[in-house]
């Protein structure tokens, strides 16, 4: 019996991914449906609205490019949040790390302006990653040394980063003019266009490569193993001799570096300069992106595109169907709601959620989440459910 269950579990890695994909798709569909109800209630033409939404997001090469441009900072920052999450850490500080990375990139690009293009871009991005990494390392070290919770410290450091970068720009790097911004970076420091006539740059390629790299790091390296282990059971990590405190610091540093790159690509590919307060909350939306991606690196890609599409399409919808783009923010919220609460979907499909069903994707996910509880209270039941006599 146990053997047979095991046999069926082999392709389960794929089944699990597919199951989650289906669930997420269902959540998105439900969210759009609920959004439609909102539109109808507000007296708008649902068909017209959703046609414009689609058109603005995917209707042409240009709108696809627009979607992707909107998705880029979310991709990097979302990847950062997802990575930390796999290590059991809530990095709500992607916003601040992104600011740190952006300013460092802009300053470096200006300082090394006489360098040739490729090394200059590389150096500027490296500076962004380092600055973001440093900004992530601080809460990691605080947690490791003093136990200060990273949610609190990262949120607080967001304010510090936003205000500090504004101050630094004002004080040292300000370009002439009323706006607190640096001078434009030289043209050869800018990320080249991927498709002529669009704002789509090589940032997309860098992003996809980074997703693959983070996935590989988590799956195949000793460091990634430590990260996932600490995230899934710190107790077991301690017993195995993993230096948990050091891993916490490094996990946050790597996460911060990836978030810093979100700022770098914004500066090198979109803004071409650092502007105080430039981010409309990418670092926060990134938390939602990571959530929808279920903290899987490859999941961040479609999740970021989805949120990018809702933003790009939402603007078109506002322009042509005269529907407030805020409504798309509401739809984004609904997506998160449905993804975060799969129980809602189960209830809708009238499926039992609580019944322990060994080996299926959702059971395992739910268990990981409620690991503590499973270990103490529900432990014996789960065991009973999972297993017949051993020997």
């Amino acid at each position: 019996m146990t053997e047979r269950t095991a046999g069926r579990r082999l392709p389960a890695a794929w089944a699990e991914v597919l199951g989650e994909l289906a669930l997420t798709a269902a959540a998105v569909a439900l969210a759009l449906l609920a959004g439609a109800a909102l539109l109808a209630l507000a007296g708008y033409d649902v068909r017209d609205a959703y046609y414009n939404l689609w058109d603005g997001a995917f209707g042409s090469v240009y709108s696809v490019a627009d979607t992707l441009v909107n998705a880029m900072p979310l991709l990097f920052a979302g990847l950062a949040v997802a990575f930390a999450f796999r290590g059991g850490l809530f990095n709500i500080g992607a916003e601040g790390q992104l600011y740190a990375g952006a300013l460092a990139t802009a300053v470096t690009a200006a300082a090394l302006a006489e360098w040739p293009s490729v090394p200059l871009i590389a150096a500027a991005m490296l500076a962004g990653a380092l600055a973001g990494g440093l900004w992530g390392l601080v809460p990691g070290a605080l947690k490791a040394k003093t136990g200060a919770h990273e949610v609190i410290t990262t949120i607080m450091l967001n304010y510090v980063a936003i205000l500090l970068t504004t101050h630094l720009v004002k004080q040292y790097f300000k370009a002439p003019g009323p706006v607190d911004q640096t001078a434009l970076i030289p043209a050869h420091a800018r990320l080249p266009e991927l498709i002529a006539g669009t704002r789509l740059t090589w940032a997309v390629v860098i992003g996809v490569v980074l997703v693959a790299a983070v996935d590989w790091l988590l799956r195949r390296t000793s460091f990634g193993f430590d990260v996932v282990l600490v995230g899934s059971n710190p107790g077991a990590a301690v017993y195995a001799g993993v230096p948990v405190a050091a891993r916490t610091v490094w996990t946050m540093a790597v996460s911060g570096a990836v978030a810093g790159l979100a700022g770098s690509t914004m500066v090198l590919g979109v803004l071409y300069r650092f502007i105080a307060n430039f981010s409309p909350g990418y670092g926060f939306t990134a938390v939602a992106v990571a959530l929808v991606a279920r903290a899987r690196p490859w999941g961040v890609l479609p999740a970021a595109v989805l949120f990018g599409a809702l933003q790009a399409g939402g603007l078109t919808m506002q322009l042509f169907a005269r529907i407030p783009a805020d409504l798309m923010t509401a739809v984004q919220g609904l997506v998160i709601l449905f993804v975060a609460a799969p129980g809602l979907l189960y209830a809708w499909r009238r499926l039992p959620v609580a019944a322990p069903r060994a080996g299926t994707a959702m059971t395992m996910t739910a268990e990981t989440a409620a690991e503590g509880a499973a270990e103490t209270a529900a432990g014996p039941d789960n065991e009973t459910a999972r297993r017949e006599a051993g020997p």
């Binding site: 389960a12 990590a237 069903r357 080996g359 395992m364 990981t368 020997p391």
Partner: protein, 566 residues
């Protein structure tokens, strides 16, 4: 007392009344089997997804008895009782209470039928007093207000009548685990329970608290209550049960009066094959001291958590640390493992001072650390068997090169460990394996690389009999290979079965140390409780070991084995 091979070679004749099948004839034993069962569960089936948790189980409980429901983890004990208590709906089967078919859909139905259940995990509000906890949901009222005085009187009365010794005014957070459990029993009694289900009540108790619980159970029985006692411990079964039903793989494997069976037979029924309750061990072949603690002191808030501990474990021997939990065992473990730096004193591994070496560096030369079976700290449940097996060695050759994991080497290791240590349940997430298999996997991971210093902490707690046998055998194998084993356990049977020498820890101090044969269980019990045996046993074993560190004023009553001997 070594192996009991008494049943060797004989087939297993079903003991009296043990015919596995639809209707076990009640009490083939005759006299102690009353005519009509109080609770009857007939052919109970329950399936969770692919797992058949109950597969036609039968249970007959007679009024006024202590009925032990015995079985390994996963045999379906809890499932059966949760069906009886209305927490799970059965797929098929029938429940009869006092001869009448009962429909129990919820715990409310069960309570109305006179069934009460005490769960492993207590459901008490820490901030409330005992009385408030007990009456919550059924408050006695007067003029629309809760009548606390009446509640307290009620609780006091029940407490007295059943010998529960709980103070109605005490706050639950100030109570010991054993007392909290008695509050749970009170809750059930006050709600009119005639039948009391106790779900593995001893899992959370110290030996002394367990004895106290057994006393309470006997008193409840004397008051006419019927008790169903879930356990996987044979000794407890033999100690309190009037009648035993053994469950295996969701079915009843036998039911009989406790007086007509032996632990050996019960173990065989549980596991389905012959089990060695005590693995035979040749006399110790002692080598040099591999693990030494010298004057180790760990300071806590206000008092020392460990005070001048001197211990040494030589190659080829197992040193057992006995003690009631919370007397410094945790600190001892942390100091040896390298998680905590002692405030004074030093730890030597193979003669070398390991101060400043973290857990990872101590492990490298050949130290292993086996975590408790419960709470399960060893495995990471969400990770696969392969990942768990390589855990702790995933940084370097041969399992990783330049920080990149080498899959084939890891897979090979997983094959080797799972086959050598008999880990069953496939290769998926370890959380899907049974508790026993999870622990075997962890033990296998730690012992596969033939360590020569082994720190084992509660290695078999919460683990089933079959896995316990396996783990004990592996530890003895390591000892035979010349490894030094420090075994910290709250299970006296385990300590007595495995240890060559024993040391008793009480409030951070080693209060006695000697060859295992010099201690009796009673002496250990007293020492663990902080008293010194009065020497009535005629043996001259316990007492302080005579290094005279701070033992002035106490008589070193004959420490035969000096701590820092040579």
């Amino acid at each position: 007392m070594t192996v009991s091979h008494n049943d060797a070679g004989r087939p297993l004749p079903p003991p009296a009344g043990a015919a596995p099948g639809p209707a076990p004839t009640p009490g083939g034993g005759g006299a102690d089997a009353p005519p009509a069962p109080a609770i009857e569960m007939i052919g109970i089936y329950k399936r969770f997804g692919p797992v058949q948790a109950s597969a036609g189980a039968h249970l007959r409980v007679y009024p006024g008895e202590i009925h032990c429901l015995l079985g390994e983890n996963g045999a379906g004990k809890s499932t059966l009782m949760k069906i009886l208590y209305g927490l799970y709906a059965m797929d098929a089967g029938e429940i009869r209470i006092r001869g009448r078919t009962a429909v129990i859909r919820s715990p409310g139905d069960a309570m109305r039928a006179g069934i009460g259940m005490v769960h492993q995990h207590f459901m008490l509000v820490d901030d409330f007093t005992v009385a408030e906890n007990v009456i919550a949901g059924m408050e006695p009222r007067r003029r629309g207000l809760i009548d606390m005085a009446a509640a307290r009187r009620l609780v006091a009365e029940y407490s007295r009548r059943f010998g529960l010794h709980v103070d109605p005014g005490a706050r639950v957070e100030d109570l010991s685990v054993g007392q909290q459990q008695r509050v749970e029993i009170l809750k059930a009694l006050i709600r009119g329970a005639e039948f009391l289900i106790l779900d593995e009540p001893t899992a959370v108790l110290t030996p002394q608290e367990a004895d106290e619980l057994f006393r309470v159970m006997r008193q409840l029985k004397a008051e006419g209550k019927t008790i169903i006692f879930i356990t996987h411990k044979l000794k407890e079964t033999m100690a309190v049960a009037d009648r035993v039903t053994v469950l295996r793989a969701g079915r009843d494997a036998g039911s009989m009066p406790a007086s007509q069976t032996t632990p050996q037979r019960l173990a065989e029924l549980m596991v389905g094959r012959r089990v060695l309750l005590q693995v035979p061990a040749p006399p110790a072949q002692r080598g040099p001291a591999l693990l030494q603690l010298e004057n180790v002191t760990v300071k806590g808030a206000g008092k020392d958590l460990l005070r001048s501990v001197n211990l040494q474990v030589r190659g080829g021997e197992i040193l057992g640390i006995a003690g009631v939990e919370g007397n410094g065992q945790l600190e001892l473990e942390e100091v040896v493992a390298g998680w905590r730096t002692p405030d004074q004193g030093r730890v030597r591994i193979a003669g070398r001072d390991v101060a400043g070496m973290g857990p990872r560096r101590r492990r490298r030369p050949g130290c292993a650390h086996i975590p408790p079976g419960r709470p399960r700290r060893g495995p990471a449940p969400a990770l696969s068997v392969e990942q768990n097996v390589v855990l702790g060695r995933h940084w370097g050759q041969p399992y990783a090169r330049l920080g990149v994991l080498r899959r084939p080497a890891v897979r090979e290791l997983a094959d080797a460990v799972t086959s050598r240590f008999d880990v069953r349940g496939g290769r998926g997430p370890v959380g899907g394996l049974s508790g026993g298999n999870q622990q075997k996997l962890v033990v296998g991971r730690e012992l596969y690389h033939n360590p020569w210093v082994i720190l084992a902490c509660q290695p078999t707690r919460g683990v089933d009999v079959g896995a316990i046998e396996r783990i004990h055998r592996e530890l003895l194998d390591m000892r035979a290979r010349g490894a030094a084993v420090l075994l910290i356990s709250a299970d006296l049977d385990e300590l007595l079965a495995l240890s060559d020498r024993l040391a008793v820890i009480y409030e951070g101090e080693i209060v006695a140390e000697g060859e295992t044969g010099q201690f009796t269980e009673e002496m250990l019990g007293l020492l663990m409780a902080g008293q010194r045996p009065s020497g009535g046993s005629g043996r001259n074993a316990a007492g302080r070991n005579g290094t005279g560190r701070d033992g002035a004023g106490r008589d070193g009553a004959g420490p035969t084995e000096a701590t820092a001997g040579d």
